[in-house]
Subunit: 201 residues, 2 copies
DNA sequence: CACAGCATGATACGGGTGTACCAGGAAAGC
DNA sequence: GCTTTCCTGGTACACCCGTATCATGCTGTG
């Protein structure tokens, strides 16, 4: 055999270079050569580990998803002891908002992928993106729990309320990235909505 | 003089070809040559009427803004007689949602521009985008009016509620374009939120 | 009628893109 | 030691991009 190299580490290095470019300059600037330069390797290496560009894009997207998932798990675990439905929802929703550098990076990179998928839906269709629906289900579950505890008006539809909240946070994130709003302002709006949802007189 | 041609008409024809491509294939597919082919003119003509590609992009974006504005004006004028704050808000918000072909087109094209601006903020900065803030102000004003009429709880912050609603509609639109939700489902969620905002027992 | 000027067509240039091909070197197994 | 396999570097190929240049129409005015 030859100089055995940690393939996974190399792939990670290259994929993260792609994500770094997607974050700072957008995905259309993430050419094979640019990724190679950013990762400090030769173009040939990028081709070797990811035969095609589509493979690289998909792999990097998967890693981005893992990063977001890790961040959310961390925020959930920091939601106080014991976690209440309200603290959990606050954690999950504000975790997605681009307030600190890491969330800005993740959100911006996801936004870069978003339009890519819009123009070429076949890219991710086979790959599947169960994340949003899972999140929505989790939120709906928390809402139901809060309703049984009498903290939320029982007349609300949990699914629709969850979907509305998640969509709002998405939209707030877009406006923050677009520079129309500050991250803290978005957080304040989210807090206001949660205050309204949980009766806080 | 030479064959005097309606310049504005030609510019419109070309710009709308650009918008059509941006809608169906994304902005990264909207090359000068593709726009020329879509508009049925030669590449040289596109260059003639819009010296540079940036000029073409900006002009088309401006036209898209006008189209959205016209659509909103139409929906507002169809908001019943006399228009109530609730009917106005419903009209404005559901007008943005991608439910019919026209709104799908507008929303998708705006989404295509969104990431372009994210990766190159200088493009639109000088050009200005007063639209969203105006809309937010309009919504806040309607909320205040409804509060004075006793239709909305006076404890709500009009600005934050307006911002939250607009962001939610934006996020709902994204999910519809992404195929995670149907346009009607998004409308139902919006209706549910408005029901909750205006006390409907 | 001729001329000036706007409108259009064809083509070229330099650069960037994804991918493919070919060669070579380094370590492990016989 | 030799070979086989894994890894890596360099380079080339088509193709598409935005823009510029040259040339040629056509038309309305003097």
């Amino acid at each position: 055999m030859a100089a055995q190299v940690d393939h996974e580490e190399r792939r990670r290095q290259i994929a993260e270079a792609l994500l770094r470019i997607a974050d700072t300059q957008g995905l259309q600037a993430a050419s094979m050569r640019a990724v190679a330069a950013e990762a400090g390797v030769s173009l040939r290496l990028v081709q070797y580990y990811f035969t095609t560009k589509e493979g690289l894009l998909l792999d990097a997207l998967a890693r981005l998803g893992v990063q977001l998932q890790a961040r959310m798990a961390q925020w959930i675990s920091a939601a106080g002891t014991p976690p209440t439905p309200r603290s959990l929802m606050t954690a999950v929703l504000s975790c997605i908002l681009p307030t600190d550098p890491e969330s800005r990076r993740i959100t911006r990179t996801y936004a870069a992928y978003y339009t890519l998928v819009l123009s070429d839906p076949a890219l991710v269709e086979k790959h599947g993106t169960p994340q949003p629906d899972l999140l929505e289900g989790f939120l709906a579950q928390q809402i139901r729990a809060a309703q049984q505890a009498g903290e939320i008006d029982a007349g609300r539809d949990p699914g629709m309320t969850a979907a509305g909240l998640l969509a709002m946070v998405n939209g707030l994130g877009s406006s923050v990235l677009g520079g129309q709003r500050t991250g803290d302002a978005a957080l304040a709006i989210l807090a206001h909505c949660l205050d309204e949802l949980f009766g806080s007189p």
